[in-house]
Amino acid sequence: MSSIPTRFDVVVVGAGPAGSAAAYLLAKKGFSVLLVERGKGLGDKNMFGGKVYAQPIREVWPELDKEAPIHRWVTKERISMVDGEKVLTVEYRTEKKVSFVTYLTQLTQWMIKKAEGAGALLASEVTVEEILMRDNRVVGIRSGPDVIEADAVIDAEGVNRLLLERLGLVKKLDPDTVGLGVKEVLKVGEGNIESRFGLDKKEGLAWAIVGDITKGIPGGGFIYTNKDTVSMGLVLHLSKKLLDEGSFEGHVSSLIEGFRLHPYFKPYWKDAIISEYGGHLTITDAIKFAPSRFAYPGLLIAGDAAGLLLSLGYTFRGVDYAVYSGKLAADAVEYARNNGGVNYENLQVYDDYIRKSFMYEEIMRHRGAITLMNSFELMSKYPKLLTKVMEKMFEAEYKHEVIYNSLLQALKEEGISPFNLISQAFMMVKGI
């Protein structure tokens, strides 16, 4: 057993997008890297809605567009406001390859293969139980009786930060900072995707839904078109209030079923079978969720574990942020090596890298979004108001109301003053 290495330059915990990107780049730069993953199948443990932004990932893998398992490039973005059976939908079409839809498992497996190909040693089906500290510095990891030492540990353990909690670096999960994502994959058939969603081959659609589809729970719905399936689901913002008061009676499964059976959406997946379903936590309040520092002595925190996820309600960015933070972690380790050694003083640059990155700037800039997403106005009042305006405009048997009057009447019926509407709308736009 003497030839088995028990020391690596870097140990990466978690082979998701963040961990795989870091492991790939570090191995490529010549570091010895151990990548540890607890999932049985690679990519088993992570989940997302369905859409990935490409550009930050291209910085790690320029071959992304050609090689990665991309189902469809998103050419259509839709936003729907739902009030009961009334729905108002806005659609935007583009031809630029900005984001794509895929299965995260497939994409993660592709990233892991890249990391292994570059020379990272992948140990799957193994759970890291502890990040080891000595003299106030992280020195390695422990799994069962096995200890592996490293100059640096990159924690990419995901949203459920058991290791960081055990180290005392983050508090126990605060329900106010996370949401529950539930998702179903519906097998619709390739030809049907194109005809039902009005898409060309390789074209995809991303669809965000707000309103009472979540039955008053802050959050929203999503629909993404994969190759021959549709991913649809809900993100439900958890909160202490919701959990304590039990203000929602029922079960998430009934919520997602209500969405699936909604008369407006139902025809899109007519005769489809549910081929997969799942649930996962997602970050809703990145700022509150983030650890106070991204770099500690011997330890770098990346991906979801670092709270790096942008949730705007109409779009989510987690996978590309994870990959990009993995890249910054690898950059930091390389910087440290070239500047006197992988020690704390040198690794600290990672904290700056993150704070100066587009990700952190975006999260800070859009910090109003969380307040908005949790607000009653967006969840219920505005969808109601806007669908009501539509109702006044279209549901006329003889006379059609002028748009201005439709709005005024709807405002009156919903008890909103025009001044309030303008100021709230302004805040809304500013927040997002």
Binding site: M1, I4, T6, V36, A123, E125, V126, V128, G144, D146
Partner: protein
Amino acid sequence: MRIVVGMKWVPGTTSVRIDPKTGTLIREGVPSIVNPHDMPAVELSLRLKDKYKGEVIAISMAPPPALKGLEYLIGMGVDRGILVSDRAFAGADTLATSYVIAKTIEKINREIGKVDLVIFGQETIDSSTAHIGAQTASWLNWPYIYYVHDAKFVDSKFVVERVLEDAVEEWEVELPAIIATHMKALKPRPVRLINKIRYKVEKPIMTWTNAELKLDPRCIGLKGSPTIVSKTVNVPEVPRKKIVYTPKSGEDAAKWIIETLMKDDKASKVLMKYLSMEGEAQ
């Protein structure tokens, strides 16, 4: 001691569906796993190694994806794996499979070192024949004990315990021998990080094709398999009627059951048929 443990790479049958038209398993897209009933066999082999030193070699006759399974066993602490893999072995029934396995064990015996013990699981979850242990023992002419849940040396004699429904038997076995573990005999140990690293660094895996084993093509694969599946019948699930009756006494319960069955067209016919057969027998 040198122990060989058998592993089958099987579809996770909880997720396997049956094609109602052809009656065959739909294996497409079903992830494969290490046959769960092989796990107690692996655990027993590792416990014996912990106690008496030596090495454990896992063998599997399967296509290359089964390497994943051998990796898992090496993660648990198995020293090395041998994948016996060749298109010529495909389509084998238990006779042809056990023949290849017996020949593999002989080759290990010749080229790697003397094999003291071979351990198999009770049966596989995808076919449940429980043939392989007995057939391999027959080919090798080695003693075979089934339903084993423990084994140890007592005064240099190898003693195995086998569980029966209401008894535990102890057998003194001459080595080399083959044993098959009871499916609930032992809880398998988890995978260890250090073993996983060892797997990646040392690659303690060999693949033997028929070029190495040099077996007569008439004795292997489909040609060496006399078993014929003449027909498979898909028995559809019968919906339960969910009738609950609380009887006043045993007699009342029996009366109610007979009455209820007699009211049902199909059930009454079956019942009458068996009742008349009983009469004839008497």
